[in-house]
């Protein structure tokens, strides 16, 4: 796990008891975790009372360092030993390292989900709706009886140009073909997960 020099300096300052009392250190660390979460309070994380007396520029610098450290740790799935070593190199004493680790454990899973969802991917299907109709007549063919399906796939995408729905018609045979292929995919998924 590596941080830039500037951010490492920020962590050094955060570790300094002269600049941050244990209470204000705890407040800053909690604020850092809160600001990368998806909670509503994330926007006002740095308004904590404990942080008011400290110089704002310092708070901002240390906050940036702390959040970067958190995200890098989650990204690389840091274990206790690795993280402790890294923080001790930044002059964190035992108590501060312990506090950081506790908060990290609490928030790790939600942060992993958040980071995992960042990135481009093809439009993601979330739901399907269907409609069965029975065609009895058209102006070209008067006695033409056949059932048909209208299938609508609900789709989510990061691309703003993508329509939220994909619709298409199919006959019974076509729907059976589609279903057969989906079943094959599911079977292969099951087989792979059992390996």
């Amino acid at each position: 796990m590596e941080l830039s020099e500037d951010l490492q300096r920020g962590l050094h300052r955060l570790a300094d008891p002269a600049l941050f009392t244990p209470k204000s250190f705890a407040a800053l660390i909690r604020a850092a975790f809160l600001s990368v979460s998806e909670a509503q309070a994330a926007e006002t994380a740095l308004d904590d009372a404990e942080l008011q007396p400290i110089e704002p520029a310092l708070v901002k610098h240390c906050h940036a360092a702390a959040t970067t450290c958190i995200l890098e740790a989650v990204k690389h799935n840091a274990d206790r030993a690795g993280l402790s070593t890294f923080l001790e190199d930044c002059k964190f004493d035992k108590d501060r390292t312990e506090l950081f680790w506790t908060e990290y454990q609490k928030n790790k899973e939600s942060l992993e989900t958040l980071l995992g969802s960042i990135g481009t991917s093809p439009p993601h299907i979330t739901d399907v709706t269907w409609r069965l109709q029975y065609q009895i007549k058209s102006n070209q063919l008067y006695r033409h009886y056949r059932p048909g399906y209208l299938v609508n796939l609900t789709v989510e995408s990061s691309d703003a140009n993508q329509k939220p729905d994909i619709s298409f018609n199919c006959s019974m045979e076509q729907l059976q073909d589609l279903l057969g292929k989906l079943r094959d995919a599911a079977k292969s998924l099951e087989r792979t997960s059992q390996m």
């Binding site: 995992g116 093809p122 070209q140 008067y142 006695r143 033409h144 299938v151 789709v155 076509q174 292969s188």
Partner: protein
């Protein structure tokens, strides 16, 4: 629209009102203009073959010229006769009329008995194919053509290492008016199972009593 469908549309613009027994007037009567006395079964059979080819592939002026020379009439007459016969066949197929109704309709033209038989046989032999061709003229909405799928496992991304994220990537082929389009889509295992469940229900609907009753009663 292909040249063929344009010609079909032209035929329908000149068509008659539709009823269970076809009202044949002007178009088919043109056949009578072709030397009524010489109208033998072979000639009618030949006209029938030309008409069916016309429905399959569109008009072929060379064929008209050949027939015109053989029968010693203008090729325009031949063309009109073929169009009339085509009209007869398409209207009959469109309504899927019974043999009896077809014979009654053709009786109006005053042909000999053998010729009526030839026409009837022509209708019965070709009506399935003509129905097929007519369905191609219906308004076409995008419909399913094919689907390819692929199972992927995402192991890492720029924002997060050490992942195990299974996804199913699919390429959906859709067809509209002879044009193929593809769409790449993705889904997760849980949604895939949900899709399968929903579509199985959709297919099973046709077998329910409700649908069976409707299918039985609408004929």
């Amino acid at each position: 629209m292909t040249e063929f469908s344009q010609q079909m549309a032209h035929l329908y613009c000149n068509g008659m009102a539709v009823e269970p027994v076809i009202q044949l007037k002007f178009p088919v009567g043109r056949i009578l203009m072709v030397h009524t006395a010489e109208l033998s079964c072979d000639v009618v059979g030949e006209f029938g073959r030309i008409a069916v080819e016309f429905l399959r592939k569109g008009s072929n002026p060379k064929v008209y010229e050949g027939a015109a020379r053989k029968l010693e009439v203008s090729s325009t007459t031949i063309q009109q006769a073929v169009e009339g016969l085509t009209y007869l066949l398409t209207e009959s197929s469109k309504l899927m009329i019974s043999e009896v109704d077809f014979q009654d309709s053709v009786l109006v033209l005053g042909f000999q008995e053998e010729i009526n038989k030839v026409l009837l046989q022509l209708y019965l032999d070709n009506r399935k194919e003509i129905c097929q061709i007519l369905t191609e003229l219906e308004p076409s909405l995008s419909h399913y053509h094919n689907m390819e799928w692929r199972l992927d496992v995402q192991l890492a991304s720029r924002s997060l290492r050490h992942q195990i994220k299974p996804t199913i990537t699919m390429k959906l082929h859709l067809k509209q008016n002879e044009q193929l389009s593809t769409q790449v889509l993705q889904t997760d295992p849980a949604t895939l199972l949900h899709l399968i469940q929903e579509l199985e229900q959709a297919l099973a609907e046709m077998k329910t009593n409700h649908c069976r009753r409707i299918v039985r009663n609408i004929k």
